[in-house]
Symmetry: C2
């Protein structure tokens, strides 16, 4: 790794970093932006499955990151924070950015393990904080993969990666067109589809389910009734008068119960 | 309830709503701002323990809210959204605001029930999303009260109330100066202080604890070691390589395990 100093915000080598917020909305043609040290370290680690196209850091951050960047086979640009801000279109306080390559889409069927399996299926989740949070929770509780319907937002959106603490770079994910396609996948692979519902069985009293897929929908409307009807309904007991949790929180509690038997405290 | 139309952003009757963001930072001398319909409905319900000083809504929102406002003994101002935005200093898209009165601080000892007890103690939590999220989770899992050290941010900060889905208006809370004072309260009331630690006992295998206080600290540094040493350490089992959850999520999983026995699925 030889750092490459850049002074000119218009330098074409930084073109992937320009107008970051506008491009967050329209997409980046096979690229994504990683920001902040936590996320960059995950991206550079063996745990992430994405290739790095380039890194852009401020001079202050280079010494601390140099060991992690040592083996990287991609350019490392170094620019002062005001230059970084001029390129991105807003101040980059942390001074750490990178561009990753999305690579080909994964085949959802290929992400289902042969033996014990715990997957998460997201239906219509359009909030990046919730999707990022769910990836973090899926990683913490050992889920094998996350499957997303077409309405669910992009786990490689800049903010989703950040909220996921970098785990959307490590937990495998794939797209299916609809919730129905998720249920069809459950049938093909003999996975029990589970849906959270206040009127379901107490999740604390479920028998062990060696192969399960937890469906999660948006906080307000929840999962479509037609999907609910085809899933096994499980409830997280709550205090009287309270009828909902944040979806990432509900997912965490459910994955803790479903994945807990597979995980040992350290 | 007789709605009072207001056209002039400089009308002194709206002075509590002016420069909202600036005042979020400096405080409001015994008042707080509630925003959005979900929060207003909680504030107006019997569940909230705070008095309403006034309500400010846009004309479009008045018909839907009129039944909830019917019994209110406080002025209801009605102003067009551009007027609301001019008063507040930024656009009020939802068109629903209210000013509540904080009332006297609560005595923490008075919030500890005599029989079975489950409390939450927050130490050094300075993020309003996390504090709001923890109130929501405390409410969902039936915690009796939340106790806050002096470093923890205000649950009645506008954004904390919103993220709490209004539960910071209903779950009792009180301040203590320090984490040490929280532990002293535990001793006075024979509460078992619990702290989350990867090296603790598996929280899923704890014996029932009829009287407990769950301590939660900031995500990065966590609880001070001196507090940890005096608490019973419990672990949420996690996948190898993952060592942390968002603090509101960790609190939810722990409260689900600790409070679950007291709650029945609906």
């Amino acid at each position: 790794m030889t750092p490459i100093p850049v002074d000119d915000p218009a330098d074409p080598r930084l073109s992937a970093y320009t107008q970051m917020r506008e491009r967050d909305l329209v997409g980046r043609e096979g690229r994504f932006i990683a920001e902040g040290e936590v996320v960059l370290r995950v991206l550079l680690s063996g745990a992430a499955r994405f290739r790095v196209e380039s890194v852009l850091v401020s001079p202050e951050r280079l010494p601390g990151l140099a060991p992690a960047l040592a083996g990287l086979d991609a350019p490392v640009y170094v620019a002062a924070k005001p230059v970084m801000g001029a390129v991105a279109g807003f101040p980059i306080h942390r001074g750490v950015l990178a561009v990753g390559l999305r690579g080909p889409e994964r085949d959802p069927d290929a992400l289902v393990p042969a033996g014990p399996a715990l997957l998460v299926g997201l239906v219509g989740l359009s909030n990046h904080d919730n999707v990022g949070g769910l990836f973090r929770n899926a990683a913490a509780f050992g889920a094998d993969a996350v499957l997303l319907d077409a309405e669910t937002c992009d786990p490689l959106y800049r903010k989703a990666i950040r909220v996921s603490a970098g785990t959307s770079l490590t937990v495998p994910f794939a797209r299916l067109p609809t919730g129905d396609a998720l249920l069809a996948l459950c049938e093909r692979h003999r996975l029990t589809p589970l849906a959270l519902s206040p009127r379901g069985e107490d999740i604390g009293r479920l028998p062990p389910l060696p192969r399960a897929l937890l469906l999660l929908g948006t906080e307000g409307p929840g999962l479509p009734e037609a999907l609910m009807a085809r899933a096994r309904r499980v409830a997280i007991p709550m205090a009287p008068g309270v009828d909902s949790l944040n979806v990432a929180v509900a997912g965490a509690v459910a994955l803790h119960r479903l994945g807990g038997e597979r995980l040992a405290p350290i």
